[in-house]
């Protein structure tokens, strides 16, 4: 097992598996966020349900673990890869032999995402705690906190930029998961690549819709 984890192929598997979990999570998170269009109660009740069910500790700790492993391996792999190519080329490759920018910049997009996730958790999960009552049940008023946060245009811009970066990361990451886990076949790989691009656009656009909507609609 240790041999597997130390090998270049094994690290690829772990990167792919943790990436699979994390990209599944962002899709679920994005669809949950869309409840903002339904109203404050639906939004808050969904938040309450997500944090008050028996699977919550398992899911949240798995996410933390996957994120730490994904980030740690990303940094380790980048360090190893830099030492494998100590001096750079003077010129960039020709168009016929160049590859997507998204695939070459995973460590940069990933680093921005790490900073984003930390600030995101600090702002919302560990931010101000307001309560609201719906039919005798007291739940956390995340909607109020979120509306307050997105009154600041600079904060909205940071969110939009960070979420575009997430889209770029997913654009390479999602289809790359399948390659790393050994799925590549002329029959289905073109579809996987196409799904990866659509997935990245849908997740990024779905997330971005929330701060923009809140900023434009819930003025002061």
């Amino acid at each position: 097992m240790l041999h597997f984890l130390r090998s270049s192929v094994g690290k690829k598997f772990i990167m792919g598996l943790s990436g699979l979990g994390l990209s599944g999570f962002v899709f679920a998170h994005m669809t949950g966020n869309l409840l903002v269009f339904k109203g404050a109660e639906a939004y808050n009740m969904y938040g309450h349900f997500m944090t008050h069910n028996p699977a919550y500790p398992l899911i949240s700790w798995s996410l933390v673990l996957m994120m730490l492993v994904h980030a740690f391996l990303g940094i380790l792999l980048t360090k190893e890869n830099h030492s494998a190519r100590p001096s750079a080329y003077a010129v960039q490759a020709s168009p016929a032999k160049s590859v997507t920018t998204a695939s070459k910049t995973m460590i940069f997009s990933g680093s921005i995402l790490l900073v984003f996730i930390i600030t995101h958790l600090a702002t919302f999960k560990y931010g101000n705690h307001y309560d609201v009552e719906y039919g005798g049940q007291t739940v956390r008023d995340l909607h109020r906190l979120m509306v307050e946060a997105f009154q600041n245009p600079a904060f909205v811009v940071w969110y939009v930029v960070a979420l575009i970066v997430m889209g770029v990361h997913l654009r390479h990451g999602v289809s790359s998961i399948f390659q790393s886990l050994g799925f590549n076949h002329p029959r289905y790989t073109p579809t996987i690549k196409w799904i990866g691009i659509v997935y990245a656009i849908v997740v990024a656009a779905g997330f971005i819709s929330q701060p923009i909507y809140v900023y434009l609609v819930h003025q002061g």
């Binding site: 041999h3 192929v9 690829k12 890869n81 020709s94 016929a96 790359s176 590549n184």
Partner: protein, 268 residues
């Protein structure tokens, strides 16, 4: 009428235009010395010349001028050995897909162009001199499993081992790898996964490769990691640079083979 014909016939023969090029060539006197780009002008380059013939013209000129010639690797000059790997304007084997440097022709360039020529750069491929690199790391990966055992004695009957056409074709595609190192040269991580996966795939797909199937992939991946190649991040630069158009499908197959081998191996 006849005068007209003879008149038009004379204009069809035209001497090929000769080109003058500026070359920025990496010069490095030894593995541990500092390298730098040197600029040379070459003229009289004919569009039909191969890139290596252009390098020969450069070296002739340097010899006449009393300058040490540029060291570069070359052997068959017909696209089948892969020795001639160099990085031309940032691309391994030059700008086009599916060709080796020796099969790249000067008609691909324009008169007056500047061409930057560098060696493949990877810690696992130390520079010997100028554009010559030491690719023995590939030999050591091959020696760690890229072979099959054969019985001694009489030759077996032809076609006595059954194999499907699909498997034979895929194995042949993988066997087309000439081990030039363009995958390593073009990968931003200097990863050797395309090379290693081509060798693993070639034998894993064939009945003759089955006895060593498990040990082969474990041994070859281990040696690949020991040699100091980088990790694969699925950019696909290797596939784009490979003169034999080995595909990423082989890397996915190696990933599967490796996982399988890890699960079934009896060795610790």
């Amino acid at each position: 009428m006849s005068a007209n014909h003879s008149h038009s016939a004379t204009s069809t023969q035209k001497a090929p235009a000769s080109m003058t090029l500026t070359l920025k060539v990496w010069r490095q006197s030894g593995p541990h010395s500092e390298g730098r780009f040197e600029e040379y002008k070459v003229d009289g380059i004919v569009p039909d010349m191969s890139f290596l013939e252009m390098m020969d013209v450069l070296n002739q000129k340097l010899i006449k001028a009393g300058i040490e010639q540029v060291s570069f690797d070359h052997d068959c000059r017909e696209g089948i050995c892969g020795t001639c790997l160099m990085v031309i304007n940032g691309s391994a084997h030059g700008p086009d897909r599916g060709v080796t440097t020796c099969q790249l022709h000067m008609r691909r360039f324009q008169d007056g162009d500047t061409i930057v020529i560098e060696p493949a750069r990877a810690k696992a491929f130390p520079i010997i001199k100028d554009l010559s690199i030491n690719r023995s790391a590939f030999d050591r990966i091959t020696a760690s499993g890229g072979f099959i055992s054969v019985s001694t004695g009489n030759a077996p009957d032809a076609n006595s081992i059954l194999i499907s056409k699909t498997a034979a074709d895929l194995a042949m595609d993988a066997a087309a790898c000439i081990g030039c190192g363009a995958c390593v040269a073009s990968c931003k991580n200097a990863s050797a996964m395309l090379f290693t996966s081509a060798k693993v795939s070639h034998f894993a797909l064939l009945p003759q490769g089955q006895p060593e199937r498990t040990d082969r992939v474990l041994g070859m991946v281990k040696q690949m990691d020991i040699e100091g190649f980088g990790n694969c991040t699925n950019t696909g630069a290797c596939e784009a640079a490979c003169p034999k158009e080995i595909t990423l499908e082989n890397i996915a197959r190696m990933n599967r083979e490796y996982l399988r081998a890890m699960l079934v191996t009896r060795k610790s």
